[in-house]
């Protein structure tokens, strides 16, 4: 009886290990995108005492997460709407933000990924929480990102804000 039980437990353990190995070696597109967006949040975070060279390198790293023709549409309450396109403009905006904010902590919560039927495009909805050294309150903003897969990497080609509470 005991031997039989041990065999069942061992088989169950092996199946679980196999499933874990499979998902680790061949992760689903949803998991890859989630991991990539978490990396983006880490790269976008600015420590207060960042050296100028490190700041430049991190801004370049941020650019790697977006396509060259990225479209950005930001509508934040109380601020003017900002629309711009192109990776260079985005990097420039990121550099300005980094220098103005001093320290910036960026986190993404509740990343919901929907992969398109072609498996080459995807949409991600997430909540950005940012805290700067100068502002007392956290900045909370829902975002919708559209991504495509090119040269083996998922990159964002459209970024837009979502109004949780709409006034229109």
């Amino acid at each position: 009886m005991r031997r039989w039980l041990w065999r069942v437990l061992l088989a169950g353990g092996l199946v679980a290990l196999g499933m874990w190995a499979w998902t680790a070696l061949f992760p689903s597109p949803e998991r890859v995108i989630r991991k990539r967006l978490t990396e983006l949040a880490k790269v976008a975070t600015v420590s207060g005492n960042e050296a100028p060279l490190a700041a430049l390198l991190n801004s370049e790293k941020v650019a790697g997460f977006f396509t060259a023709d990225i479209e950005v549409n930001l509508e934040v309450p109380g601020r003017a709407q900002q629309v711009f396109s192109g990776r260079d403009d985005l990097v420039q905006a990121a550099k300005l933000l980094r220098s103005a904010a001093g320290a910036l902590n960026v986190e993404f919560y509740d990343i919901i990924v929907t992969v398109g039927p072609d498996k080459a495009t995807a949409e991600a909805n997430l909540t950005l929480v940012a805290r700067t050294a100068s502002e007392r309150d956290k900045i909370v903003q829902e975002l919708k990102l559209r991504l495509n897969k090119a040269e083996g990497a998922w990159r964002i080609y459209r970024l837009e804000t979502v109004r949780t509470l709409s006034m229109l």
Partner: protein
Amino acid sequence: MFVAAHLLIMELMASDVEPAPSPSWIQTVLIGRNPKRTAIRIVILVALCLIVFNRFVLVPIRVEGLSMMPTYQDHRINFVNRLAYHFHKPQRGDVVAIRTSGISIMYMKRVIGLPGETVTFHEGHAYIDGELLNEPYVKTRCDWELPPRQLGPDEYFLVGDNRSMPASDHTMGVAPRQRIVGKVLL
């Protein structure tokens, strides 16, 4: 039957075999007859309660920000009752939690406008279908001016209690019913 059982007990008591010492009733009540099994049962029960309550019934939250002052102070701990609106719809005056892309980050606001109503702000006062809304929870005066907004059949107008900041800096507006996670408990 009772007599037979009684006789059997008497016979057992009279025999030479000493019965094993039975645990005290307090011990039996607290840890059961088999402590190992009781411990496993407690662990499973606690884990189930935590999962069910945290996710599906009462979601613990920490208030951050000033938009619900003075009703809810910054950093206060509270709970969101997710079952509150299973049997009835949100009511005017309810303080509710509104989800963003998930429930890790939620907005806490008060319902002032119900489906089908027209909400407007004039000289800092809220009007519903042209009638002044009595808001005893608002302790600060403001000069907000917002154009009339007709709500859809499934839309609610939500706003914070703290009206001391300009309307443009205050997160408020219309949310569909499915965005409302539940009612704030305390």
